[in-house]
């Protein structure tokens, strides 16, 4: 009988703890603007991590000296980069996670967008 109680307590803990702790958090949404510069098909300064919070507005300003497509995985957003022009990719980061951002041609990594939960 004792062992049944232990099992029941463990099961309850496993179910309730995540819900309980997931409920906390706070803070209002912010706006982020990241400048990305592509030279010779590669990001200047190498692969970067862009950190934002869930619900924030994110804008990538991408300038490139080569043509190609910038692709943000997960959110599945894509923009065509034009020679010598700055293009923008703007969205609300509503899903948490760590998402790869890359140049489709040659799969060159621009970096990762990390959307942290509140």
């Amino acid at each position: 009988m004792k062992s049944v109680k232990i099992w029941a307590a463990l099961a309850a803990l496993a179910l309730v703890l995540p819900l309980l702790l997931a409920a906390c958090g706070g803070g209002g949404p912010k706006t982020h603007s990241f400048n990305v510069q592509i030279q010779g098909g590669k990001p200047v300064g190498g692969s970067a991590t862009f950190r934002v919070k869930q619900g924030d507005t994110v804008t990538f300003n991408i300038s490139s000296d080569t043509a190609g497509n910038a692709h943000l995985h997960g959110y599945d957003l894509e923009t065509a980069m034009a020679l010598g022009k700055t293009v923008t990719l703007s969205f609300t980061a509503n899903a948490t996670g760590r998402f790869q951002f890359e140049i489709e041609e040659g799969e060159v990594e621009i970096g990762f967008l990390e959307v942290q939960p509140h």
Partner: protein, 515 residues
């Protein structure tokens, strides 16, 4: 037949060869992208601290002379009409037929369907729904594979027809050499995990279909030679793998008729004379002698039975491959990989080396600790016996890591099955009207995923510590040596759990860009 076998062998050889010859971008896991955020440091520390602190609570319980596990509570679902309906042929037969049909559809889709990963049923079904999803179900619900194994079902049907038509056995029922143990199954499982974790084209639909056909030939061949049940127990890699996981599950099938189990050539009965989890005995037993029981989680891992060396090796392999999948997505592995790559510039070879080396390291460490346990308990058991007796107690730790590691992956990548169910071949069909579905990446919040992961890992750890104590009390008989044996075991378990937590706290490195 020989020609087909030769062709299959050729296909397998080509598959292996192409893996070494075609350098391509490789994904960390068999299929699909992962968007997991690493668990934050404070939570990692809370999990680690919790696991250690609760371990001492469990030890305290045993020191104070609390629970041994003399039997466990069972609740027979067949006592109710709903439970009986679950095992009624009118329910079971359509499920089996559907499973075989699904198998055929997956192989057909892989062979002739659109070869883009997201346009073909095979990759998502095999790697996400079946392999990851069924592992979850096996551990948390029960051994469903016994019911839905398409190789088992199809061979059984042909066997029945053969008996009706020719009035003799289809299978040769050769004597299975005992020495072989479950080594054939282990070998096949190693090849499967190689395909999952190393092989570059593992998600290519055509490769999946070919591999399934080769594996079918091997499985049906084994059944033909040694009998269906014998092969399921010794050579069918997935019956073994899902079976090990399902020992943790809260359900069991049980036969309470000694006569039925004595007929069974498979030695289904354990040392307590219990016949649990044997699909063959269950099928042959009369209705009133069968039980479909609810039971506490994990008790299936501490049955009083003989564990062979090959079974121990299989469990070690299972544990290490679960860890390997996570480990290969950490920056540490990328550094090891890069170093080895400068020596041997072949990504597949380096990953293969890692896949094979890790179980060997696992086994070495485990045997070292088994030796310490033998010393600590006053050498009442030889090291080998000690190692075999305790191996199942490590399963909950691996299982917890598996659940934690794949939760987001299963919930996000698993959604692909919704549009694919309408259009399995990528021909633009819309059978169920779900073809337009797009994956919702916000389905699981990172915070919820973290806490579930940590809760699963701490819970798995505690259950493992508890089960190891129960095994110690049973095998070492007396309380004092039993307790002493558990200090080395506890160190091992804490270490293993820390590795799981550490991997979860690492940023995932999605792609290793070298073929």
């Amino acid at each position: 037949m020989t020609q087909r076998l030769r062709r299959s062998a050729l296909a397998l050889a080509l598959m292996l060869a192409s893996a070494f010859l075609l350098p391509q971008a490789a994904e960390a896991h068999g299929f699909g992208q992962r968007y997991d955020l690493p668990v934050p440091l404070w939570l990692y520390l809370v999990g680690a601290g919790g696991a250690v602190a609760l371990s001492f609570v469990v030890i305290g319980l045993f020191v104070r002379g609390a629970p041994g596990l003399h039997g466990y509570p069972r609740l027979n679902l067949l006592r109710w009409r709903v439970g009986r309906a679950l095992v009624h042929p009118a329910v079971v037969l359509p499920i089996k037929a559907a499973s075989v049909l699904l198998f055929v559809v997956v192989v057909a889709a892989g062979s002739v369907g659109d070869q883009r990963l997201t346009q073909n049923l095979a990759p998502t079904f095999v790697w996400v729904v079946w392999w990851v999803g069924l592992a979850y179900a096996s551990a948390l619900v029960g051994n469903l594979w016994v019911l839905i194994n398409p190789w088992n079902i199809s061979f059984g049907w042909v066997e029945t027809l053969w008996r009706l038509g020719f009035e003799r056995e289809l299978s040769f029922h050769l004597r299975y050499p005992d020495k072989l143990g479950v080594w054939p199954g282990l070998l096949l499982f190693l090849v499967f995990t190689w395909m999952e974790l190393v092989y570059i084209n593992s998600a290519l639909p055509a490769r999946i279909a070919q591999a399934a056909l080769v594996y079918s030939a091997i499985t049906w061949g084994g059944m033909l030679l040694f009998g269906k049940e014998q092969w399921l127990r010794r050579g069918e890699a997935f019956s073994l793998a899902f079976g090990f996981l399902a020992r943790f599950a809260p359900t069991e099938i049980r036969v309470i008729d000694p006569a039925v189990c004595d007929q069974c050539k498979l030695e289904c009965r354990d040392l307590d004379g219990e016949c649990i989890g044997c699909g063959d005995c269950f099928r042959r037993a009369s209705t009133e002698r069968r039980e479909l029981n609810m039971r506490p989680f994990g008790v299936g891992l501490v049955r009083n039975e003989v564990v062979s060396t090959s079974m121990m090796a299989f469990v070690v392999l299972l544990l290490s491959t679960v860890t390997f999948d996570g480990f290969t997505a950490t920056p540490v592995w990328v550094r090891i990989f890069s170093t080895l790559y400068t020596v041997a510039p072949n990504g597949t070879a380096v990953r293969t080396l890692g896949l094979v080396a890790l179980p060997v390291v696992f086994l070495g460490v485990y045997l070292r600790f088994a030796a310490l346990m033998a010393v600590a308990s006053g050498r009442r058991l030889p090291v080998g016996d000690m190692a075999r007796a305790f191996i199942y107690s490590l399963v909950p730790i691996a299982l917890a890591y598996h659940l934690a590691h794949y939760l987001s992956f299963l919930l996000i990548q698993g959604q692909l099955i919704i549009p694919l169910a309408s259009d399995p071949f990528g021909l633009g069909w819309n059978l169920l009207g779900t073809n337009g579905y797009t994956v919702n990446i916000a389905i699981i919040n990172a915070r919820y995923a973290w806490f579930t992961a940590i809760a699963a890992i701490v819970t798995g750890h505690i259950i493992a510590v508890y089960l190891a104590h129960v095994i110690a009390l049973r095998t070492l008989k007396e309380r004092k040596p039993a307790l002493s044996s558990q200090y080395p075991m506890l160190v091992l378990m804490v270490g293993y759990t820390m590795i799981s937590l550490w991997i979860l706290a690492q940023p995932l490195v999605e792609t290793v860009r070298k073929g």
